[in-house]
Subunit: 342 residues, 2 copies
């Protein structure tokens, strides 16, 4: 029961099937413009209850730790299985005191280009192997050697621990590579942390990476995006900002102003940022965050490529391997990185 | 009263203020990420009633003609005033038997580049000067000589009359210019007709323009887009697809299959299409149409630049001259055309 509740709260693949529907087929049809695979998932699942989601939030530090353990224990496929299936070699390591995971694809590039992956999980979930499934996919699909940073998280290590860990690994990588050979990115909190890291590294005067991947980035922790409201109850992964996300942001911020650009990077100055490839969907609670970030890049005169997928909820592309959407996103990411890393 | 109703149906600037609210400030806040000007418009207007909009539809051919006349009579500013204010010279003309409007900006390019404008109005409204206000803006903001095609429309001239008129003018322009010097585009039905024209001209073996402007294009007349459902009652310009849009599409199609690519161009093959600049908003009923069209370009390997504006309803950028959104959209369009027309 507890596992079921938490899985539902966390929007895991395991959890979001079988929830009750709040829209009938008539008022919110399955989007005919989505792939067959995505349509089937939506058809089977229906839409979850907003009211239920709002209530299911860890309250104490122990409950947060329990929730994170449950999240980790309920991954649909182990990293060993996934990396074997995608022919990616997986090696845990420590770099400048920070835990990392090396993901070396079978078809690895001979050159020095490298993808720095920051995982998702609302800044609380996804420690260890629970946070690197997308990194395995990125390594396999882009052909780039990938290093996933297992950054420290609350409740034990709130902001700015994650940024300090990203900085430490980044400095380590710069000893053997040029910044222009590095890409950085991730999905959700991973996309938000990538943008926050740009502000942080820029402030330190370090050279920035050659390109970014921003998958539906959580770029504003202050609950400001329009689609947080218009798509509440429509996004079947996040469902609502109230509850889990709102509380996780407070846990992560640990008293710092939620609109500080190191927490909500959309409020910072994007001048000097690298080109970015952005992905979201028409049912994504973070469609507004993604679109607003895109506008910030463009207003700063920086190339940014926004892609919106029909019917897709937040980060749902991660869960539909083999679909048209999954193939397009990681295929275009590969092409984007090929153009920009040198 | 009749004027008020029809203006409301048509989503004119005159009409959409003062409608009743169906969401309270609490459940759907004014988007803080939008410009002050857009926020103010949203705050003043609230959201209109879906139920009322669904009912307000012309039924007979005479009612459609009356509605079109009312639309034309209720433009917020005359073309004479607007073109004087923006220093654009306006000359009506006839080309290959089709009525057109030449719009020559004071700062006109000395070269042969030209923008071919197709107006909006659900394929029924916007005849004559009622359809060219955005063409005046485009001429002024891009500095390009612009020709707006006053294509024939139902009830007297349904599909394919509009496409025949676009073809006739396009053939005329090709006598004095290279296709690569021409841009084509428009908003809403104008964006949809632009895409349909690409299928049509490609089928004729004619060279296609050098670049396209697709402002929230009505690219699917078969009511398939996800956001037609998820954003119903949120888009304060269109409000709902039921009623006016659904009926206008049937009037325009005149019995032809609504998924014919010449009516719903999203269903056609985009190979060989020119690069496209696309605009939509997080409250746009045609966000899905725009995003799906963007994916079609990208799947065909063609450059396409998708831009989503926070809090913006369908085509609302037309109505907020002087706003950050308006400036960004037409400024970036100018830059896009500069890169692609030669």
């Amino acid at each position: 029961m507890l596992i079921g509740l938490f899985c539902s709260v966390l929007g895991l693949a395991l959890g979001f099937y079988g929830s009750e529907k709040i829209f009938s087929e008539k008022t919110l049809p399955v989007p005919a413009g989505a792939s067959e695979q995505l349509q089937q998932g939506i058809r089977q699942a229906g839409l979850p209850s907003v009211a239920t989601r709002k209530l299911l939030v860890p309250r104490t530090e122990d409950q947060w730790r329990t929730a994170a353990r449950l999240h980790a224990d309920n991954q649909p496929e182990s990293i060993a299985q996934l990396s074997a299936r995608l022919a990616v070699d997986h090696q845990p390591d420590v770099m400048n005191g920070v835990a990392v995971h090396w993901l070396q694809p079978g078809t690895a590039d001979p050159d020095r280009r490298l993808f720095v992956y920051l995982h998702d999980g609302a800044y609380v979930f996804g420690a260890g192997e629970a946070g690197i499934s997308e990194a395995v996919v990125i390594a396999a699909r882009t052909g780039l050697l990938t290093v996933a940073i297992d950054y420290r998280m609350p409740p034990d290590h709130p902001h700015p621990a994650a940024l300090e860990d990203v900085e430490a690994v980044y400095r380590g990588l710069l000893r053997s590579r040029k910044a222009s050979q590095l890409a950085m990115g991730g999905t959700s909190a991973g996309g938000g942390l990538t943008l926050a890291a740009m502000h942080h590294l820029k402030g330190l005067g370090l050279p920035l990476p050659g390109a970014l991947f921003l998958g539906t980035p959580w770029a504003d922790l202050s609950k400001t995006g329009d689609t947080l409201h218009t798509l509440e109850g429509v996004d079947r992964i996040l469902v609502t900002y109230e509850g889990l996300l709102a509380e996780a942001s407070l846990l992560y911020a640990a008293g710092v102003d939620l609109q500080d650009p190191l927490l909500s990077p959309v409020y910072g100055d994007f001048v000097g940022f690298p080109p970015a490839y952005l992905v979201t969907g028409t049912r994504d609670l973070f469609l507004s965050d993604t679109a607003r970030v895109h506008r910030k890049f463009r207003a700063a005169g920086i190339e940014a490529d926004l892609n919106v997928y029909e019917g897709l909820s937040h980060a749902e592309y991660k869960f539909i391997e083999g679909s048209r959407e999954h193939d397009a996103i990681y295929g275009e990411l590969k092409a984007f990185l090929s153009r920009h890393l040198r």
